[in-house]
């Protein structure tokens, strides 16, 4: 089964492609005990800041700590919800406006567990992973992203 019990890499260089998401979906066709998938996709937004308009976000992370923390979160969510699968992908480096920077993908026999687990994962990833977004502006300035 796919309940890996070792830290696995969640980081990908640059934007995550829709095709990568499709491939991840297709990989679950052989798991015939799955009844529902819940997927959250984060997309870089062209926010207007006083200093200019966002054209990209440049992500950095304290990778070793982030992977340890992601593993801890993963274990906690697997313990809390009856999931078949869980996948997390987060971008590092530059991701342009309109591109995907985060994929959280949960699968379970019944929809409720997949949905609740996905929601909770997204909240915990944003609050607990040592990752930082530098919002690059069209004015050649930048501002540091703030999660609310």
């Amino acid at each position: 089964m796919e309940k890996e019990r070792n830290p696995k890499n969640i980081f990908v260089q640059g934007a995550i492609s829709p095709e990568a998401v499709a491939k991840s979906i297709a990989n679950h066709a052989s798991k015939t005990d799955i009844g529902g998938h819940s997927i959250f996709l984060g997309q870089v937004r062209a926010d207007e800041k006083p200093e200019g308009k966002v054209i990209a976000i440049d992500y950095t992370a304290y990778e070793e700590m982030a992977l340890e923390k992601a593993f801890e979160i993963r274990e906690a969510i697997f313990a809390k919800y009856p999931l078949t699968c869980m996948h997390i992908y987060h971008s590092l480096g530059a991701v342009k406006v309109g591109e995907l920077c985060l994929v959280v993908f949960t699968s379970s026999k019944h929809r409720k567990a997949a949905m609740d687990a996905c929601d909770e994962l997204v909240e915990r990833i944003k609050a607990e992973l040592p990752v930082w977004g530098k919002e690059i502006l069209d004015s050649d300035n930048h501002v540091w992203k703030v999660n609310v």
Partner: protein, 79 residues
């Protein structure tokens, strides 16, 4: 260097102090380290950040083990 602390800085903290890696003389605990850092980088007094020791966030004052890896972490903004 047994009497050294290895420090990693990230995000806005790294930008403000102009470095992502630092070596400092060993400090006994996190309070002492923060004092040293603020003396060396006055800009940190107005920057919000947390400390991690060996990849664990700390709260309150905590002892710093030999050869610890310290990280200066501004508020997370992944996703």
């Amino acid at each position: 260097m047994p009497n050294t602390i290895h420090i990693k800085a990230f995000g806005m903290v790294a930008e403000r102090i102009g470095a992502t890696d630092l070596e400092l003389a060993h400090c006994l605990d996190s309070e002492a380290l923060l004092e040293t850092l603020r003396a060396k980088f006055p800009e940190l007094t107005t920057t919000k950040f947390s400390l991690a020791i060996n990849k664990k966030l700390i709260s309150g004052n905590q002892e710093i083990p030999e050869n610890a890896e310290i990280a200066l972490l501004p508020p997370f903004s992944g996703g």
